[in-house]
């Protein structure tokens, strides 16, 4: 009897802890702002902008050339692109606050914060025209 109740208490304690952990993860995402980098629709790298401590610069090879990507704590941008229009460079920083994806059409590169809704002030928006 004693032995049984010991196991029940132990299992209950473990289950309670696991449940609490699951609940915490479920409701308390620690403000992740994951920037997903896609080349031709395939996610090649994911970076949580709020986890970045050291600035980093790297290049990705797209369809017509390279894009140089710079990451700093809380933000990401394209600094150089081997494409004629340079629109992705002009788009500037995408910050962990959310915003429209950085797109390089010639290289089929997209950098987007898929789980951070874009906002105007405190109000979320569903799409952007322009």
């Amino acid at each position: 009897m004693k032995k049984t109740s010991f196991w029940i208490i132990l299992i209950a304690a473990v289950a309670l802890l696991a449940g609490a952990a699951a609940l915490w993860l479920h409701f308390h995402h620690p403000d992740a702002a994951v920037a997903n980098i896609y080349l031709d629709g395939e996610c090649i790298r994911s970076i949580d902008l709020n986890d970045v401590t050291e600035p980093e610069i790297f290049t990705v090879e797209g369809e017509i050339g390279t894009n140089t990507i710079q990451v700093e704590p809380g933000r990401i941008r394209v600094t150089h692109a081997e494409c004629p229009d340079q629109i992705c460079v002009q788009m500037g920083w995408l910050t962990s606050e959310g915003g429209m994806p950085i797109v390089c059409l010639p290289n089929k590169l997209v950098i987007s914060l898929d789980d951070v809704p874009a906002k105007i002030g405190d109000a979320e928006i569903d799409g952007v025209v322009g």
Partner: protein, 345 residues
């Protein structure tokens, strides 16, 4: 003892509930399926909500590929390529091309040529199709303009004839039509809530899963951020802006929206024209046309036809909005001091 057993059972049930919540997302009404695809010189994001979302999103992407194949001016086995290279002979085109071209020609007529699908040779001369930008001389433009006239394009059922020295391009309406077609695919698949973003165009089906309207931001044509937000249900929102594609020469800015009357970039006081209506094709056609017509022309067109609403941002930073969206447009904080005029009937 019994209390412990109950607590244990409860915790286990709770854990299972949370786990199942992760494992079976498709069954929930507010779960979404999304796809991104590169087509028509832009990125298209398709999002469909509800249990049929996944199926609908996949079907939408297939449809986008099919439509791009029909409408592209550069893919050399597209319908448009064929009619542009037939030296004036009739060409049989797909149902989609026939439907879109006849609709586009209707808007060319309604706008008295402010929209003209045959302006393509002029667009090419400016280098907007190749990004090899140049400023054509006046006599070159006059020569090219003699080859621009939508009224000479014949579309009879599925038979299309473009005169030998002319070329057409459906770029000003293709994304709008694609939006309409995706909404149809959503409905066919039992989806009641969804959205597609086609590089500057947005089209929505129904309301958001929680019943609230979709909130669509209009990009600031003068810099970063947004002019404001318009709330829509079951509607498309399309913006044409000079800032989308342009080049600079000797301090002058030249953008890609060409006025068919002059052959030069349209500078009639508008820097951004947004149309809201139930039809993506109409929105797309009119965003270009109203940009070219200017504030007065836009107002006249709206009073005459009125089956849409519009918002213009003018050169001086003032905003003009038609009455149908005035009360569902919220201006952004940093635009609150700009002059805003509501046009009423």
């Amino acid at each position: 003892m019994r209390f412990l057993k109950q607590a244990f059972a409860l915790t286990l049930a709770l854990a299972l509930l949370l786990l199942s919540g992760c494992a079976d997302p498709a069954a929930r009404e507010d779960e979404s399926a999304s796809r991104s695809v590169f087509a028509m010189d832009t990125v298209m994001d398709v999002t469909a909500y509800g249990p049929n979302g996944e199926k609908a999103a996949v079907a939408a992407v297939n449809r986008i590929t099919e439509l791009e194949q029909a409408f592209s001016v550069t893919i050399d086995d597209s319908d448009i390529y064929a009619v542009n290279h037939a030296y004036g002979k009739p060409v049989t085109v797909s149902d989609d091309t026939a439907a879109l071209l006849s609709e586009a020609l209707r808007f060319c007529m309604l706008t008295h040529g402010a929209l003209d699908v045959s302006v393509y040779p002029v667009l090419k001369a400016w280098g907007f199709t190749t990004q090899d930008y140049r400023v054509p001389k006046a006599d070159e433009l006059q020569e090219l303009l003699a080859r621009v006239d939508y009224a000479k394009v014949q579309c009879d059922g599925n038979t299309v004839t473009v005169p030998a020295n002319m070329e057409i391009d459906l770029g000003s309406v293709a994304k709008g039509y694609t939006g309409d077609q995706i909404m149809q695919i959503f409905r066919d698949n039992g989806v009641t809530s969804g959205m597609v973003s086609l590089g500057g165009n947005v089209q929505t089906l129904g309301s958001k899963p929680d019943g609230s309207p979709w909130r669509i931001a209009i990009q600031n044509p003068l810099g970063d951020g947004y002019v404001g937000v318009v709330e829509v249900r079951d509607e498309a929102v399309v913006t044409s802006g000079g800032y989308e594609r342009y080049f600079e020469r000797d301090g002058e800015v030249y953008w890609h929206i060409i006025d068919p009357a002059t052959g030069a970039p349209a500078k009639n006081g508008v820097i951004s024209a947004t149309i809201v209506s139930g039809s993506g094709t109409r929105c797309d056609a009119l965003s270009t046309a109203l940009f070219i017509l200017g504030a007065d022309g836009a107002e006249t067109y709206w009073r005459t036809h009125g089956d849409f609403d519009y918002l213009l941002v003018l050169e001086d930073g003032s905003i003009v909005v038609s009455q149908g969206i005035a009360d569902r447009f919220t201006v952004a904080d940093d635009w609150a001091n700009h002059n805003l005029t509501v046009v009423t009937k």
